[in-house]
Point group: C3
Chain length 142, copies 3
């Protein structure tokens, strides 16, 4: 099937330029059409109380991803509609050490759906205890 358009079922569709190395844990790009869901930057806190219960980057990332999924659900969308994740971490070494564990948490919470991603280390986030903030975008067909 051509990558020109969203998949036959209208779902967001990964893009893979010919000859490129397989992406690890993300897509090189996504094509999609439909209504849009913009998820605010999620941090790894308990969304009911807006308080952190852990300073561990993996624990926080898992919680931030759960929070992303909860916002998607409020729009009647799911992780399979994600087209982009932009990750802001505050410590590169900490992130690299946690990467395998973060990957495992990702697969548990989001599944095997990998949208387009960008990752940058920033000097700080608003919440002092936040180790990561994840901004997400989804497209729901129809």
């Amino acid at each position: 099937m051509s990558e020109r358009t969203p998949a036959h079922d209208g779902m967001p569709r990964p893009l893979h330029p010919e000859g490129w190395a397989p992406p690890v844990g993300h897509a090189h790009g996504m094509a999609a059409a439909g209504r849009l869901v913009f998820v605010a930057g999620q941090v790894g806190w308990d969304p009911a109380t807006a308080t952190f219960t852990s300073d561990d980057v993996t624990t926080q990332t898992a919680q931030a991803l759960r929070n992303v999924v909860a916002v998607l659900r409020a729009a009647d969308a799911g992780p399979e509609h994600l087209v982009r994740l932009t990750w802001f971490f505050v410590d590169r070494d900490e992130y690299l050490r946690a990467r395998p564990a973060i990957g495992a948490a990702y697969r548990e919470i989001i599944g095997r759906h990998y949208p387009a991603m960008a990752v940058a280390m920033v000097s700080a986030l608003v919440e002092e205890r936040a180790r990561v903030e994840i901004e997400a975008t989804a497209v729901v067909p129809g």
Copy 2:
């Protein structure tokens, strides 16, 4: 009314997962459909001359928000169509001190419309005097 789809009038619609703490000055997410407006990262300078007249973060933020509104207007859109703001500040302490004043400026310029937001502190912006850069996205129904 269900949060599944954009509001009855097609306007961007805030998303609020059940049981979550009320967001302060932003939405947890936005659902929207329509034509898109992508606003370039706005800094707090005078857009006619591309020069700064203040080094104060609140003054700059107010001007950057006015600049966002001006670009929206050029697309026949308004603040009520905003679905996402991504804020890059250069100094976290400065931002936290200015937060109440920034909130007041926001309500004056944008109104009570709060889209999805993410905030990150970055090491620098292109313009030496810039204390903040705001990237904005809007969706106009129809």
Copy 3:
């Protein structure tokens, strides 16, 4: 022609608020409608091997832009459909020195199409040798 809507041919359309200084190398905003292409953050490596061959910021930026174009092509899109570029550089002085050369590379690879842009300096990127990461979004009419 009014800037209210995408251009007559449906292509993404630059927005220019009245009285604003002409933007240098970017648009103040873009209006667009159609299917969306989300390009993952591109770094300046060889995408076939995922390895860097240069530590020069201009060389890396040119390669990152070529990578953006390759992902667009996999969606049957081109540089003319770009609506937003977000650039993350790791060193402001390095970026400012390279700016003229980066501009020349941009015009060679992307052409005279300038979407909405934001630029931030971040503390680090995931890949140790990466000097820049570029996140891109495109809208294809129809």
